[in-house]
């Protein structure tokens, strides 16, 4: 118990288009059975971090529902626990979180009342497995003030929405640019930081005094020469979900055997809220190829190269191809869906036709569903 955890889960992004109308990115369903924040939460619990604060702001209904009990990640402990911080009006503050640093500042007592010497900060919108203790050990070994987890991205990948960093041969960070139009380096920050708790309190308080609110701009970039900032290179799978394309391709990655093996069968496990759904059911007419299907689904027709989330019903004589069907969707008979993401709880009428041409189409029909 050397560290406490902070998960920044407030974010929203217009590049998620209609998908973010309903929920914060941290609550986006991933890989059939999970939500994006499950990865950070499971990493925390698997790293034996027992006291974790989740900072939410944007449309947190879905997220709060998911976090309604902390027992799924084993945070329901007497020592530590899961704390959800949404913005509140207090006697000396009545504003929303104006940024990530401000979010931490407004809940600084969480940091002050802890006794653990270190803080691990992660964001709730990334898909990865990581033992934060390894970063912590590295942090101590390097005598760093702040350690930033980073990853080399392939040259062809567009990285203009990340923070990019340049390190010297000792891995000390020399340059740090946030969302440059033209990136000069291809090492990106993964949004995972380790910092000493007192150091963080000091920096956050200073920041607030100067009316600065953003953790990356106003702390990491401003302090990069003053403080000893080191990069920790991550080699394993890591994806950030910030655009519809990323979201789609991250989900589709789970159709690859090595990714499934890494996340589903290798130690440690990723945990999520248990929904008590029955096994998936394949009726006569089900023709399913290269797809992931979650519990509670009833399938009556063709599904290819797709991910079907929980509790979805697919009627007779449908074809679902290269698509993601989110939780609790009803698809009527004779429908054809290709290259689409169908929003959760939607009802697709019989004989519907949805095809994403050139890009992924987001299907939101919002029809009433009548339960007989």
């Amino acid at each position: 118990m050397r560290a406490i955890g902070i998960i920044l889960a407030g974010g929203n992004n217009h590049r998620m288009k209609e998908l973010s109308q309903k929920r914060a990115i941290s609550a986006m369903p991933i890989a059939g059975s999970y939500r994006s924040i499950d990865f950070a939460l499971s990493n925390m619990t698997n790293s034996h971090i027992q006291r974790v604060g989740v900072f939410t702001q944007y449309n947190a209904r879905s997220l709060n529902e998911h976090l309604s009990s902390s027992k799924w990640w084993d945070f329901g402990r007497k020592q530590g626990g899961l704390f959800v911080f949404t913005p509140t009006v207090t006697s000396d503050n009545n504003s929303w979180y104006r940024g990530t640093a401000d979010a931490i500042y407004q809940n600084l007592s969480f940091l002050k009342n802890s006794h653990e010497p270190y803080v691990v900060i992660a964001s709730g919108d990334c898909v990865y497995k990581m033992d934060y203790n390894k970063v912590l050990e590295y942090h101590i070994e390097k005598k760093a003030d702040i350690t930033v987890v980073c990853k080399d991205m392939p040259a062809e990948e567009k990285i203009d929405r990340y923070g990019v960093i340049k390190m010297n041969e000792d891995n000390r960070i020399e340059e740090f640019e946030e969302k440059p139009i033209m990136a000069k380096f291809n090492t990106v920050s993964c949004g995972i930081y380790v910092v000493r708790r007192r150091q963080l309190i000091e920096m956050i308080e200073k920041c607030a005094e100067e009316n600065r609110n953003d953790f990356v701009q106003d702390i990491l970039i401003r302090y990069k020469d003053l403080k000893r900032m080191y990069g920790y290179k991550m080699q394993d799978y890591w994806r950030n979900i910030a655009t519809v394309e990323d979201y789609f391709s991250t989900n589709m990655d789970f159709l690859k055997p090595e990714i499934r093996d890494y996340f589903f069968r290798q130690y440690p496990d990723i945990y999520s809220k248990v929904d008590d759904l029955p096994p998936a059911k394949y009726n006569i007419g089900a023709k399913i190829k290269n797809s992931l299907v979650s519990s509670g689904c009833i399938i009556n027709s063709t599904v290819e190269n797709s991910i079907i989330f929980k509790n979805t019903f697919i009627g007779n004589n449908c074809t679902i191809r290269n698509s993601i069907i989110l939780n609790n969707v009803y698809i009527g008979d004779n429908s054809y869906i290709e290259n689409c993401i169908v929003e959760s709880r939607d009802t697709i009428r019989a004989n519907s036709h949805h095809v994403g041409e050139g890009e992924i189409k987001i299907v939101i029909e919002k029809n009433e569903r009548y339960i007989i």
Binding site: A31, G32, S33, Y34, K71, L255, R260, F263, F264, D269, I270, Y271, S272, V274, D276, P278, P279, A280, K281, Y282, N283, I284, G285, A286, K287, I288, K289, N290, S291, L292, V293, S294, S295, G296, I298, I307, I308, F309, I371
Partner: protein, 424 residues
């Protein structure tokens, strides 16, 4: 003061010997059912769905799996400050120590447990039936009739009545007589082994009969109450209720779940069946596979062809393997190019490549024809079946078997191959 109107006592100590190797290492209530569930999930879920939040589970035979499954009752929301689920094994006393010698004796030995909740009513359940029942409705009936004992009962076909305990009632459903497995039944109302007692009546009857060897509800306690003039009523139940006591009835009940609209519907929103799930990921169906008329649970990976089968969690079915009319329980792995027909394969079994199960003639089982019949192949848990072997019908295999155990790579129909003492 602690006070619960009704508490439940769930009898889960039985072996269920007619399930053969399936219950060699686990008690019958802990046997898997319907893919991800275990048999005890059905009465436990009924309890919580009926608002009964205090359940004593009486265990005796092979309790490890049952204990780990129940834990502190989190999956059924039975982790309560007061009440909740309590596992009650037999225990040593200062003057004597005995096992649970009969159904009612087990309850008798736990009078202190029941007393601690000051109940008005005690519900007695058995942990080996598949059904959905609202015990609260039964309690309302019990109260409205002014009964001291109420027995749930269901009409069965007259020709089958002789396998059950039969209740003979008057027009008001008050019970006049009992017949245990009668040759010529006079009624077709069969007792389901579900009882509500007024706690006072039950306690008095248990204490009065304490010295009766193998104290049993059907044989001793209920007849005793009847003799003493306690009003006993039958509560008629007409829904789905299945005793999965034999391998064939167990197989049949599982197979019914794959019907388009099964008689026993697991997909009902408002009467959920809860279970402990260790496996969360979705299931993967590969590009070469076919899955039809089947139910498949979390985390399974299907590379072969599955028809008319019930597949548990974390199962792997290899490429080009055909599985038909079979039950495959949690974490079993089947190699490639196999043929699996009408088989019940228990948990954590390893089956090699090119293995055929359920082929050949229909021959009666050599050792236990009353257990292994109807052509079903049964494979016990943690067994290993080597590659390239064929296994006939009405067979049973248990333990780590190697190619030497199969003459000419073939285990003929009707054979029993149980290797003991070689647990992994």
């Amino acid at each position: 003061m602690i006070k619960k109107e009704m508490i439940a006592m769930l009898l889960a100590g039985g072996q269920g010997s007619r399930l053969g190797v399936l219950t060699a290492k686990v008690a019958k209530p802990a046997v898997a059912f319907g893919g991800k569930y275990r048999i005890i999930d059905f009465p436990l879920s009924n309890c919580i769905n009926s608002g009964v939040d205090t359940v004593g589970v009486l265990t005796q035979y092979q309790p490890l799996r049952l204990n780990t499954h129940i834990g502190i009752g989190i999956p059924w929301d039975l982790d309560r400050n007061i009440g909740g689920v309590t596992v009650l094994p037999p225990y040593e006393k200062s003057t004597n120590s005995e096992w649970y010698t009969g159904t009612a004796n087990a309850i008798y030995q736990n009078i202190d447990y029941m007393d601690s909740f000051n109940p008005d009513y005690v519900l007695i359940l058995s942990g080996d039936h598949i059904y959905k029942m609202d015990y609260e409705v039964m309690l309302d009936y019990h109260k409205s009739k002014g009964a001291e004992v109420t027995l749930a009962a269901m009409p069965v076909p007259m020709e089958e009545a002789k396998r059950f305990g039969i209740l003979i009632t008057d027009d008001n459903r008050q019970i006049n007589e009992f017949e245990e497995k009668p040759e010529n039944p006079r009624s077709n109302l069969a007792s389901m082994g579900i009882y509500i007692f007024n706690w006072k009546t039950l306690k008095e009857a248990l204490i009065a009969n304490a010295n009766q060897p193998a104290l049993d509800f059907g044989k001793h306690v209920i007849p005793y109450c009847h003799k003493n003039g306690a009003p006993i009523f039958a509560y008629e139940y007409n829904g789905y209720w299945k005793d999965v006591g034999t391998l064939h009835s167990y197989w049949e009940a599982n197979m019914e779940l794959v019907d388009v609209v099964p008689e026993f519907n697991l997909y009902e929103e408002y009467w959920k069946i809860y279970t402990k799930s260790d496996v969360l990921p979705p299931q993967y169906i590969s590009a070469e596979s076919e899955v039809e008329r089947s139910i498949v649970s979390e985390g399974s990976q299907i590379y072969g062809k599955v028809y008319n089968s019930v597949i548990g969690c974390g199962v792997v079915i290899g490429k080009d393997t055909v599985v038909r009319d079979s039950i495959i329980m949690n974490n079993t792995e089947i190699g490639a190019q196999g043929e699996i027909y009408k088989s019940i394969i228990a948990e954590n079994v390893q089956i090699g490549d090119c293995v055929k199960l359920g082929v050949g003639e229909e021959v009666q089982n050599e050792t236990d024809p009353h257990i292994y019949n109807n052509g079903i192949v049964t494979i016990g848990e943690k067994s290993v079946v080597p590659s390239h072997v064929s296994i006939g019908k009405n067979t049973v295999v248990s333990g780590i078997t190697t190619a030497e155990d199969y003459k000419d790579d073939y285990l003929p129909s009707g054979k029993t191959l149980i290797k003991v003492g070689e647990e992994s």
